[in-house]
Structures are given as structure tokens and as C-alpha cells.
Amino acid sequence: MSEADSNKPDDLVRAVEATLFASEDALTVESLAGHLGDAEPADIRAALRELAAFYEARGIQLVERGKRWHFQTAPDLAHLLRREREQVRRLSRAATEVLAIVAYHEPVSRAEIESIRGVQTSGGTLDVLMEAGWVRIAGRREVPGRPVIYATTPEFLQHFGLTSRRDLPGIDDLRAAGLLDPVDEAYDALVTPDEDVAEESAEETSGDHAA
């Protein structure tokens, strides 16, 4: 009640708030600028920061996912909302593994996915992920055979609550440990006389498994 007095955001902040609130999709700074007439992107970014901070402790939060912004409910309230609103499709174990491989290795070809999993990937698995809107075809690798390569989408980041791919759980550790490199590269790194490389990668491998 008394809060309302100290709670008068400026016009641009209100406009950004209302636009994001009304939008069915997450919005980039550019698309916000498009909706808000001649607002400067820098001002919109400032307004977004202000709003994100403002909502931080509330039941609704403003989050950035792959350069797109949207409002969503606070994660700690999931138990209240989850009950009747389970909309998430169940993924098979194969699909979750393939999704992880695409996310951590993108862009990646089907052959590369299969070499990590040691098993053929049925076409249906990638179809399911593309139908869910989490994986897209990102072109072709310019090697013989020009295989199709896959990558994740902005919807993937949105769904899993990632600001960007750098936010993927443990990706820095995995990369540092060389676990995102192909086996051949990792093997060469281990057996070459250049001891530093091997040492470093070995240390970090053992380090992050405790985490």
C-alpha cells in the first residue's frame, strides 16, 4: 500500500514491463525497440536491468534467455504451480542424451553423436528434439559427404532456463577436462611428449568429478 508511492517507474520502464508482460514470445532488445517506437536500445537495456533487479525477489521474475527476455514464475514456487500444469513432454533416455550431446558439442553431426554414444541414433530421436523446438538443423559440415549438423535453439535455452550456452551445467569444467574433444584428440594429447597438456587435462578431469 505504502509501497505504491515509492513504486513509480519511469515511462520507458513501464512500457518495457507491459510489452514483455503482454507478449506471447520472449523478446530481444531489438524487437522491444521496434514495439516502443524510437526508444534507444541502450535505454531499453537499462530498463531491462532495472526490471530484472526489481523483480528478483518477487513471485514473478524477468529473465534473459539467449538474448531474449521474458517474465516467468519464480523457480522456488514450482511446487505450487506444477501440480496441474505439467506441460513438459517426457523425453526418452536416448533423446535426453542426444540433446545433451547436441547442446554441449554444437554444431554436431549425427555421426559425431553416434560416435559418442557408441550406438546408432534413430532418426526419430532427432525428430522428437526438433519437433520439441529444441534442436535445429544448423547447416552442413564442409567435409566429404557434407553431413547435416545440428545445434540448439533459443527455445532450448528458454526451456532449460539458460541465459546462454555458456550457462550449460558444468560446460567449463568439461571443456577444460577435454571431455568435449573427440577421443582421437584426447588420445593424442595424452600420449604426446608435451607433458604440460596431458598434466593439465588430467588434473582438471579428476578435479571436476568431485564437483
Partner: protein, 268 residues
């Protein structure tokens, strides 16, 4: 295991949303066999067996792992479970690897067994890393499950309105171009139907000669003249009337401004 049975096992595995690594399942042999269809290929089974050694994947005993795998496959065969070919191929390869590792080291054409073992270990590490990553990914606060977008957004719409632009010069030039394009055709047919002043004078004076009373100017026009010819005839006949009046060969009368113009032979 055929392609189809992989599909089936994927469906079955889909029952658990956050996939629980089989490594956490009871290690009792029987349950292991029952889970046969749950493996995503031999590498997956190997990884799970490796996890049972409860050490870092970097320090697993490959020999022990090979024994475990072969024992597993043999038990499955003894229970007459159907085992897909790729599991058997892996078993054969592992048996070869084991023998190579145990035999005294010699010069070999193939890759050394130590290299093969190390590569297998690296593969298991990579698959293990992705398995963990997948589990952590699935356990995140997920949109539509743990966090929710607004239930009934009003929606945004941009209606595009065209603001057409055309410069004055473009307009005039376009017209000039239209004319330039059609000009040759116009020249072909531009000859206009006209009544010359001479023919009007002769026609009007001839008709005045036989007229008895006032006649409207229009009555002097050729009866079949239409359109432009009629307009031309009207103008020429008017000038002819003025000329005849000047020469004293006709009288003109008009009762009001813009009223009908009448014409007769002068009274002698």
C-alpha cells in the same frame, strides 16, 4: 539388437522423466539381467559396469571391466535372453583386448592393446560426461514444468501500414513515357474530322437562300455530323454566319446571353 528394439527401449526408458543412471540400481545379478533392454548399446552397458567399480573412470581396471562384461553376456546367454549382435561383437572384441593385454608385449602391426584400452577408457569418460550432463540438464528448473510463462498473455501485434511514396517528377515523367510509348499510334489516326470555314460558308449561304424564316444556327449543321465533327461544324458555321452578316448576306439574332442564335436571309 535391432533398430526397432532400440526404439522400443527408448519408449520404455521414457517413463522416467529424469533419467536415473542404472548405476544406481541394485547390483544384484538378477536385476542386472532384467535390465538388459534398458541399455543404450554395449558402450552404455560398459559404462554402467565401470561405474560399479566405484572409482574414477580414469582409474578403472580395464581387465576387470572386460571380465564383468563377458560374464554378463555369458549369464544372459545362459538365461536364453536374446542378445543383440552388437553386444556380442563387443564381447568378442573385449576378449581379444584382454588376451592382447595379458600376452607378452611384442611388435604388433595393429594398435597396441594399451592404446585400445586407453581409447575405450576415453570413450567411456565422454559418454559418462554426457550422461551426467543430460541428468543435470533435465533436473533444471524447466519452463512449463517448474517455472511458467504468463498463462494468458494479451499478445503483441504490429500492423504494417504502407506509406506510399511517389515524387512529382516521377508522376510527370511517367505520363510522358506513356505518351511517348503510344505516340506513333496516335499519329496514325490523328486526322480530325473538321468542317472548314469555306465549306461552312457555302453550306450556310446555300441554305439561307431557300429558308423562309429564322432558323437556329444548329439547323445549318450537316445532319450526320456527330461528336468532334459536329463541334467543328458548329464553330465553322458560327464564323460563317458572322462573315455572311458582315457581307450583308444574313441577319443574326439572339434574344438573351447564351440563348439560341438565329439566322435568316436579310429582308430586301
Amino acid at each position: 539388437m535391432t533398430h526397432d528394439s532400440f526404439m522400443l527401449s527408448e519408449e520404455d526408458a521414457g517413463e522416467s522423466e529424469v533419467w536415473i543412471a542404472p548405476a544406481s540400481a541394485p547390483t544384484e545379478d538378477k536385476s542386472l539381467y532384467l535390465e538388459l533392454d534398458g541399455w543404450e548399446g554395449p558402450l552404455d552397458l560398459l559404462l554402467d559396469l565401470a561405474r560399479r567399480q566405484k572409482v574414477d573412470l580414469r582409474s578403472i581396471s580395464i581387465l576387470a571391466l572386460v571380465d564383468q562384461y563377458i560374464a554378463y553376456i555369458e549369464r544372459a546367454e545362459s538365461l536364453r535372453l536374446e542378445i543383440a549382435a552388437d553386444y556380442l561383437v563387443m564381447a568378442a572384441w573385449l576378449a581379444y583386448l584382454k588376451s592382447a593385454l595379458l600376452l607378452p608385449k611384442e611388435e604388433q602391426e595393429d594398435a597396441s592393446p594399451e592404446e585400445l584400452a586407453l581409447r575405450l577408457q576415453l570413450r567411456l569418460q565422454r559418454l559418462g560426461a554426457m550422461r551426467e550432463a543430460a541428468a543435470r540438464l533435465m533436473a533444471r528448473d524447466r519452463l512449463g514444468r517448474d517455472v511458467f510463462r504468463r498463462g494468458a498473455p494479451e499478445g503483441l501485434r504490429i500492423d504494417r501500414v504502407n506509406a506510399w511514396q511517389c515524387a512529382w517528377f516521377d508522376l510527370v515523367r511517367a505520363y510522358g513515357q506513356v505518351n511517348a510509348r503510344t505516340a506513333p499510334a496516335i499519329h496514325m489516326v490523328r486526322e480530325r474530322p473538321v468542317m472548314t470555314l469555306e465549306s461552312a460558308i457555302s453550306r450556310v449561304s446555300a441554305m439561307l437562300g431557300v429558308a423562309l424564316d429564322w432558323m437556329a444556327l444548329e439547323d445549318f449543321l450537316p445532319p450526320h455530323a456527330d461528336g468532334r465533327l459536329r463541334r467543328s461544324a458548329l464553330a465553322s458555321s458560327f464564323v460563317a454566319a458572322l462573315e455572311l452578316a458582315r457581307l450583308g448576306k444574313a441577319e443574326l439574332a439572339q434574344d438573351e446571353i447564351f440563348g439560341p442564335l438565329r439566322l435568316r436571309r436579310p429582308r430586301a
